[in-house]
Amino acid sequence: MIPDADIAIVGAGVMGLALAYNLASDRRGSGGKRIVVVDGHYLAWGASGRNGGGVRQQWSTEMNVRLMQESMNICAHFAKRMRINVWMRRGGYLFLARTEAAARRLERNVAVQSRCGLETEMITPGEAQALVPELAVEPFVGACYNPSDGIVFPWPFLWGYAHAAAKHAVAIHTSTPVTAIARRAGGGFRITTPAGTFAAERIVCAAGAWSPEVARLVGASLPNRPQRHEIMSTEPLKPFLKPMVTVSETGLYVSQSLRGELVGGISLPAEDDGGEVRLGSRLAFATTMARALVSLMPRLGHVKVVRQWAGPYDLSPDGDPIVGELPDVPGFHVVCGFRGHGFMMAPVVARHFAAYLSGGRPHEFLSAWSPARFTAGTPPRAGGGEEMFIG
């Protein structure tokens, strides 16, 4: 039996759970705000359980930098507030550039970040090597480093939000796929699952790369597409690698978790999976990543890979997220299209989106990321101009 809800959230990833927690704990909505979260799988099955756990404030637009400064602040207090160890380590993020063009881009972005009060600095390849002595820096012409970025272990983040949401009377139903959504005359929805049907005044689709499938159930079509990204983890090593290291031109990123393992990925040539989410592991990823990592840090040659896996990026046509009510389906909201950065953005996006859904003032991202920009007749736009994407 699933209880009727004021807001039903489809997707129990970090975005859905963080949203549920923020909605349920928002005082403005207290007294009768019934929140239900449904998901077709177990917690951490989707992209929230498959990502590298990076949390950085280095972005290229002021809005994104400021959002991520706030998100980082939430992350920094998360363990204490939620009473769960999320293995957070703030060793910074090092961006390396091979070409002058990429170095100039970093320079431009560092200027934006400085205006927001971040300590990011352009550094020379030699200074990068002082930070990470294992680096072979010959191919690089420039770098930037922000010491307060960091990493978390994604799984306990989900338990933290889930347990806190449950304490605020949120009903979380895992292994409960939504199979049909009917629009009720006069507003609201009836949601069908194998565990029964329930009513919801509003729906928020937080299903990441699976969001288009959920939206199709109300007859809506979302423009985002899934793109498979792969990632690997090595045996645990003694702590040696301070920052997350990323290479602008290849999309390579690698960090050492508090558990000791190296975790990293790299972009492969984009492959059209025909709109389907595909999660198979490929040898081509393992060999491409291994070659890139060994040339980046030659001393890692004898380090052993223990596991590789895949997760979907959720790409919108202009690269910006899609957040808000669908113009054609009143009461049906989406929060998706985060292009591999949904995990690190979820704490802050969920906070402001929940405040808005509870009657608060809309954050500026709600106009920048509105789904209305994709309705027929709206002239295409360039997106927010964010260029610090990894992968």
Binding site: Y42, L43, E235, R259, L283, A286, A290, K304, V305, W309
Partner: protein
């Protein structure tokens, strides 16, 4: 006698950890893996999976045959980056006979 029973040596997961996860409602192998981190170290579950499944089955009063193992990920055994980096490159030519 010490009461601490270690089931996953790589990640230091104890019987009490598994029982705690089950009490929170995580009764599938994949859920317990994610909640406790068991099976994510160098052995990738080869040593610990049976013991953990037995602990879940007993604690959750589930028939062990309903507990599927977690998804097995490549590589089959821990593999050096250098070996993977060399894979796919042209094989060395055999020495020419003089």
């Amino acid at each position: 006698m010490a009461r601490k029973v270690i089931l996953c040596r790589c990640e230091d997961v104890t019987l009490a950890d598994v029982q705690h996860a089950v009490r929170l409602g995580y009764t599938d192998v994949e859920e317990v893996k994610r909640y406790t981190g068991f099976g994510t170290g160098p052995c990738q579950g080869k040593e610990c999976l049976r013991g953990i499944v037995a602990a879940i089955a007993v604690t959750a009063a589930r028939d062990p045959s309903t507990l599927a193992p977690f998804t097995s990920r490549p590589p089959l055994v821990p593999t050096e980056l250098a070996l993977l980096a060399g894979a796919g490159a042209a094989p060395p030519r055999p020495p020419k006979r003089k």
